[in-house]
Subunit: 300 residues, 3 copies
Amino acid sequence: MDLISFMDLGKEEIERYLEDARKMEEQLKEGKVKKHDGIVATLFFEPSTRTKLSFQSASHRLGLDVIDFSAERSSIKKGESFEDTIRMIDNYADVLVIRHPEEGSAELAAKYAESPVINAGDGSNQHPSQTLLDLYAIKKMKGKIEGLEVHLVGDLKYARVMRPLMYGLAMFGAKVKLASPTGLGMPKEAIEEAKEKYGAEIEETTKIDFSTADVAYVCRVQEERFANKSEAEEAKKGYTIKPGYLEAAKEGMILLHPLPKRDEIPPEVAASPQARYLEQARCGVPVRMAIIKKILEGRK
Amino acid sequence: MDLISFMDLGKEEIERYLEDARKMEEQLKEGKVKKHDGIVATLFFEPSTRTKLSFQSASHRLGLDVIDFSAERSSIKKGESFEDTIRMIDNYADVLVIRHPEEGSAELAAKYAESPVINAGDGSNQHPSQTLLDLYAIKKMKGKIEGLEVHLVGDLKYARVMRPLMYGLAMFGAKVKLASPTGLGMPKEAIEEAKEKYGAEIEETTKIDFSTADVAYVCRVQEERFANKSEAEEAKKGYTIKPGYLEAAKEGMILLHPLPKRDEIPPEVAASPQARYLEQARCGVPVRMAIIKKILEGRK
Amino acid sequence: MDLISFMDLGKEEIERYLEDARKMEEQLKEGKVKKHDGIVATLFFEPSTRTKLSFQSASHRLGLDVIDFSAERSSIKKGESFEDTIRMIDNYADVLVIRHPEEGSAELAAKYAESPVINAGDGSNQHPSQTLLDLYAIKKMKGKIEGLEVHLVGDLKYARVMRPLMYGLAMFGAKVKLASPTGLGMPKEAIEEAKEKYGAEIEETTKIDFSTADVAYVCRVQEERFANKSEAEEAKKGYTIKPGYLEAAKEGMILLHPLPKRDEIPPEVAASPQARYLEQARCGVPVRMAIIKKILEGRK
C-alpha cells in the first residue's frame, strides 16, 4: 500500500482519489473531518517547504501527529546508510512521506520500510500527489477533464510534474499540446506510449499560443539546462508568460503552475484573473488527506 | 481579526486580553483548558526561540496543531517572493504567527493572508503579544498598573518593546520614567503623543535611580548603536544593573526584562529577589493563549 | 522525579520499567494506548536524530504534544546562558528531554527546571533510556537476563552505553565478558564496583570469541581515540565483526548495537539472522513511553 508512482494507478483508483479529495474539501469546510490516530513522518533529503508543510497540514487535519526528519540535521552526516535511516524512522511512524534528490529512492525506501511509503518527489522521476492534485484542480476549476485542451509549457524534459500529468490528462480524455524550447521536449517514447495506451491526441510545438487552450500548465525553464548562455537567455525569454499571451487566450482559460514560481510569471500575469495556481496549490491539502487516509486504511 | 500593532488596541480590548489571560492561567493550573481544533503556523524569518516556543506551547495548550516554517530552510532561497510564501502557508493553517526583521512585514502578510495574522515582531517596530504580556506581568505582580511608577531603562530608541510599553503604561495611568544613554532616548514625538493622549506623567533622565520605582523594566544597550567604541563601552557600563542600584531601590520594586538577557544583568543581580523576569516570561503562555483563542473565535 | 542516571535506579524500579514497557508494547499492538495531556520538550544541544525521533514518537503515542529546541537555531548563539535556556523551556513544557555534549549537563538542567528532566545523553556519561531499552531488548529476545553470557565489545572506555549496561547486566545476574582494544578498556574501578555490589562474574579480554556468548553487544571504535594511525587502523580492523565470528558463535547468539552503525558491522554481518539491532532499536518507543508515563504520573 505504498504510493510511489502515478504510473502505478489505474483510472478507477485515480477517480476514487479525486472523489475522496472532494469529500475531504467538503468536510474541511464544514469542520467535520473524522479524526484518526497515528504518526506521519516527513523525511526530506532535500528541502521542499511547500510539499512538506502541505503533507504536515493534511496529517494534522486528519488528527495525526507528525515527526520530521531533515537530512541536513541527521546522522547521514555521521555516515549512516539510507537503509538504516529508513528502517529507523519506520519504527517511529505509521506512514513515511519521503522526498529525495535521487530517482528510485522512494521505491527503495518502500522496500526497506514496513510502514507504507508516499513518494513526495524522487529526483526528476515521480511526485504522484502533485499529479493527483493537478488533475483535481483542473477538474474542480473546469468541471471536467475530458474534452479539454491542456497546454503543458516549459521544460518538459526534466520537470518531474509534466510527464505523469500528460499521462493523466491522456487517460481522462483531454487533448494535450506540448510547448517547450528545442532540446527540452517531452521524451518521444513517453508521447508514443500515451497515444497508444489511451488513444490520446497529443501535439508538439515550440511556440506558445493559447488561443485554443482551456488550461495552460506552465513550469520554469532553468538556465542550467543549456550549453551556452545566449541560448539559455533566449529560451527563458521565450517561455516567460507575457500579458499578451493571456489577452490572446481562449475565453475562460486558466493558468496553472506547480510553484514555487519565479520570473516565468511576471507580476502583471500573476495579477490576472486567469492565474489560478494559488487556488490550485490549495487543493494540495484535501488531495493529500485523501491519500494518507486511504493508505492508513489499507494498512490494516 | 489580525493582531499587528499594540497601537491598534483600545483600552477595553486590552483589559479583556488581560482578563482572558488570567482565566487561561487559572485553567492551566486546574488542567481544564477547553481544547480547540485547528492549525497554527509559526513563520520565523529570523530566529527567536523564546517567542516561537512560547507561541507553539500556547497553541498546544489550546489543543491546536503547529506547523513551522523557518526562512533558512525555505524556498525563499530558491527566490520565491514573500507574497507567495505567505499565500502558500495561508493554505495550510488557520492562524499565522509571523516574525520578520523588516518593519511592516506583518501588516503586509496580513494583506496577503486570508487567515488571521499575529505579529510576533517586525524589525524594531511592534511585538504586541510581548507588550500585552509585560502589562499582564506587571498587573499580576503588583496587583495594578494605575498609580505605579515604572522605569524604562536602556536603549529606548531601537528596542522594539519600549515604545508600545510606554503607551500601554500611560494608558493605564502609570507614571513613566525613561532612562537611556544620550542618543538612545525615546523619540520625542512618541513621548508627546502619550502625554497628550492619556494625560500621562512621563519624565526623561540619563541616570538610573530606582529609589521611587515600583517597576524597573530593563533592556540591553547594544554596542553597535554607537559611533565609537569608548562611547559604547561607557554607555554599556552605565546601563549594567549594579547590585547597588537594587539596594537603593524602593521597597518591593520588581526588575523585569524581555529576555534573552546578557551582561546587563550581572549574576548577583540575577540572584536577587527583585529579579522577576523569569516569572514575567512565564506569563507568555497564558497571554498568547488568550490572543490565539480570541483570534480563532473572531475568525468565524 | 527526574531520570538522570541509570545508576540512580534500584532493581525493583528497573523491573517495573521493563514490565511497563512490555505493557506499552502490547497496547501499541492493540491500538489501545491511554492518551495523556501535556507537552514534552526535546532539547538537543548536539544532533542525535534517532534518540530525538524516538522520544518524539513515544510522546505522540501517549497523546502528548512536542516542542523542539535545537541549539544551533537558538539564542545560545546570542549569548544566553544554559540556565536561562532551561528555565525558559521549563515554562513551555511538562517534561524536558535533554541531550548535551557535556557530562553533568542533564543534572544541572534538573536543578534549574521545575518540570521533570530526562537525560537523553550527557557526553560520555549516562543515557539511561538507552540502558533500559538494551536490557528490555535482551530480556525480550532471550526470555531472561539472569544466567546469560553477554559480551560487550568495542570501545568500553568512552562509549556512554557500555558502563551502565555492564552494571545492569551484573545486577540482573548475567555473566559479562568485556572485549576491547588495549587502552580502551572499561575503567577498573567500575568493574570492581559491579563485582562487589552484585557478586557478578566479569571477565576482560582483547580477543573476540563468541563461542560461549548468548548476546554480543558491539559498539564502534573511533580512530580519534588513538595516538597514531597504524595503531588505530589495527584496532578498528580487530573490532570489525567478521562473518567468521558469527559462524563460530554459540547457537542462538544475538548481535546488538546501539546504532548508528558504520563499518564495524560489514554488509554480510548485517544480513545475518543474528543481527538483531533493528529489533532492538524498535524497543526504544515502548521503553521511552514507559519512562515518560511514569514521570508524568510522578509529577503530581
